[in-house]
């Protein structure tokens, strides 16, 4: 042993990476390919430095065994960068108009009940307004079937912003020009959604982890809850999924984010593999 030990720069070995990759996959369902090695190493090293861990092993042991699980959650946040913009993960909207709604309409017969869609969390409104635009543009039956769109968030200030419907240029950058012109009004350096859409999308405050709030949200046919559950601890994630089950009508669908899997959270839902997307369904006939 050296009398004057030199502190070596922190590094992630190939075996460390493989060990971390297996652990992280088991915890989150997110699998990092070898091509993501630089990204993973960079974030791991940042967290190791932030927690003053002197080796990968020390850091991994902390993440693995820390009773509160806070460092694992911080690491998950660092590894899952999310940004909200219109038509994000559009393939699920395609699945909504091509597959999910077709099945719901076929099963409901001549019911006059409106189809209810819940978007949670609302954030600043890109998702619920995006669903409304997508239905108007891509679902021919919109003229025959009533649809209600409800969107909820725990944050009342973001709900106020969502009701106002102001969006940055970055937020609308993936929208085709014709839709931007049709559904938005230019307001200086940003865009505001047209009043006709602001009037039909309802926003409510809800904490999805609070059973009392969740009890008041029910009779939905489709729930979009994308890139939220991944930020919860395992037990809250499971409780929320169980509350969603009771918020859905039989045969109702839930759409999660691309890195989330209901199969890892709850066994209550059926996995449905449609051509456009994998979604989760409360079985027809379930009560």
């Amino acid at each position: 042993m050296s009398a004057n030990p030199v502190s070596l720069p922190l590094a992630i070995s190939d075996e460390d990476f493989r060990k971390f990759r297996e652990f992280f996959y088991r915890k989150t369902g997110i699998l990092f390919e070898d091509s993501k090695r630089y990204f993973v190493d960079k974030r791991l090293l940042e967290r190791m430095e932030a927690t003053q861990s002197d080796s990968f092993r020390a850091y991994f042991t902390m993440v693995r065994f820390q009773a509160a699980g806070t460092e694992l959650q911080t690491l998950i946040n660092a590894m899952t960068v999310n940004e909200t913009y219109f038509f994000r993960e559009e393939y699920q909207f395609t699945c909504l108009v091509n597959s999910m709604l077709a099945e719901i309409v076929a099963r409901r017969g001549d019911s006059k009940r409106p189809i209810r869609i819940w978007s949670v969390p609302s954030s600043s409104g890109e998702e619920p307004y995006g669903i409304a635009i997508y239905l108007l543009e891509h679902w021919p039956q919109i003229d025959q079937v009533d649809i209600e769109i409800l969107s909820s968030d725990i944050d009342t200030s973001i709900l106020t912003a969502a009701r106002e419907g102001h969006f940055s240029a970055r937020s609308v950058q993936h929208l085709p020009a014709n839709l931007l012109a049709k559904y938005f009004r230019r307001r200086g350096d940003h865009y505001q959604i047209v009043d006709s859409l602001r009037e039909v999308v309802e926003f409510t405050r809800a904490n999805v982890t609070d059973p009392a709030d969740m009890r008041l949200h029910r009779d939905f046919d489709v729930i979009f809850c994308r890139n939220l559950l991944i930020y919860f601890d395992d037990l809250s994630r499971k409780q929320t999924a169980e509350s969603f089950y009771d918020a859905l009508n039989p045969g109702g669908f839930i759409c999660l984010g691309h890195s989330e899997s209901m199969s890892r959270i709850s066994s209550l839902f059926r996995v449905r593999k449609f051509p456009e997307a994998i979604v989760y369904q409360k079985p027809w006939g379930a009560r």
């Binding site: 693995r64 003229d143 209600e148 859409l197 029910r218 395992d234 169980e242 209550l268």
Partner: protein, 207 residues
């Protein structure tokens, strides 16, 4: 267009439940013929620490998977001794769904499950010992490595050891090296044990 403003939003939704939401009322609702009522009762009982006995008792007779799942979540949320005892009993169940859900629930309760672990890992039933190792897979507890080393050093059943050695590759340290070598010697003609122990040795030494 047929996008309609919702007329049945959260603020206007009535709470249609019939019984008082206190312990006696909720325990009565837990036996309701309607699984939806039972799920809501089980969910609300999570807020009452004295509810674990009633939830464990219901678990013994409940056949609806959706209700079982909510009961287990509520027991996990309560996490008292009676709740943990009920969860460990589920490891002996023939109902695979119940057993697996109980394993997942126990993983969430490291400090509460720890006092039971020593007993579970020497249970006469090797399946129960395997399920106990399955719990260790995600148990955030400082004794996990120690428990696993004891398993591979002492358990006579190859499948129990195989389950434990897999996990040691992830959570083990240099402390596990002698036990891993001893395991290889003990199961010299078991190719899987040789492979898994070699991989674990490679990983615990990789620093």
């Amino acid at each position: 267009m047929a996008l309609k403003k919702t007329t049945s939003n959260a603020a206007a939704s009535a709470d249609e439940r019939q019984r008082p939401r206190d312990l006696p009322g909720l325990l009565t609702a837990l036996a309701d013929p309607d699984p939806l009522a039972r799920r809501w009762a089980a969910r609300d009982l999570a807020g009452l620490p004295e509810a674990s006995s009633g939830l464990v008792d219901r678990l013994a007779v409940e056949s609806e998977p959706s209700v079982i799942e909510v009961i287990l979540t509520s027991l996990t949320r309560i996490g008292d001794e009676r709740a943990v005892a009920g969860l460990t009993d589920c490891l002996r169940s023939d109902n695979t769904m119940l057993r697996n859900a109980a394993i997942e629930a126990m993983k969430q309760l490291p400090d509460e499950v720890a006092p039971w672990m020593g007993r579970l890992l020497v249970d006469p039933d090797p399946d129960v010992r395997i399920f106990a190792v399955n719990v260790l897979e995600s148990l955030r507890h400082p004794q996990v490595e120690e428990w696993l080393i004891r398993v591979i050093a002492e358990d006579a059943h190859v499948n129990v050891c195989a389950t434990a050695v897999d996990l040691l590759g992830e959570v083990g340290s240099e402390k596990a090296v002698p036990a891993l070598h001893a395991l290889k010697d003990r199961f010299g003609d078991e190719p899987y044990i040789q492979f898994a122990a070699d991989l674990a040795l490679k990983r615990v030494r990789a620093d």
